[in-house]
Symmetry: C2
């Protein structure tokens, strides 16, 4: 299973609860695409959210985020980690 | 201790060994700034590297990366994670 990092912009001033709600919306439907979102990190000042996931493809990750209401096209396949 | 995600661009075609060398260069000096790089993820196709760290400030994270030879100004303070 491939690993991905995706980046959202526009989460300015978002609270922890709102981040949690967005993450839960992903978790609810991710299984339908064989995706699992392991972690999401928020910087409310810059509005960035970073999501670490595993799944069959970038497109599957993007579809889950789109259906959950927070699409992004910035999805990177991570071939190595240390 | 605050948590940060920083993003490097320009690691196109970089190998796992080269990523590991860059990460080791950080680990060797990070203590001098009270920083710890927990994880680094590489996408050699886009050239992106994402580094997760803890430390006293963005500036401390940037100084370690600069002294280790791979500076970046894209450092985000992560106030929440889920």
């Amino acid at each position: 299973m491939a690993k991905f990092m995706d980046v959202h912009s526009g989460f300015h001033g978002v609270t922890r609860e709102q981040l949690s709600e967005a993450h839960d919306a992903d978790l609810k439907i991710e299984g339908e695409e064989g995706v699992h979102f392991e972690r999401a990190w928020l910087d409310p000042e810059s509005g960035k959210v970073f999501c670490l996931s595993t799944g069959p493809s970038k497109e599957a990750v993007m579809r889950v985020h789109e259906r959950a209401g927070h699409p992004t096209s910035e999805v990177y396949e991570l071939t190595d980690e240390v």
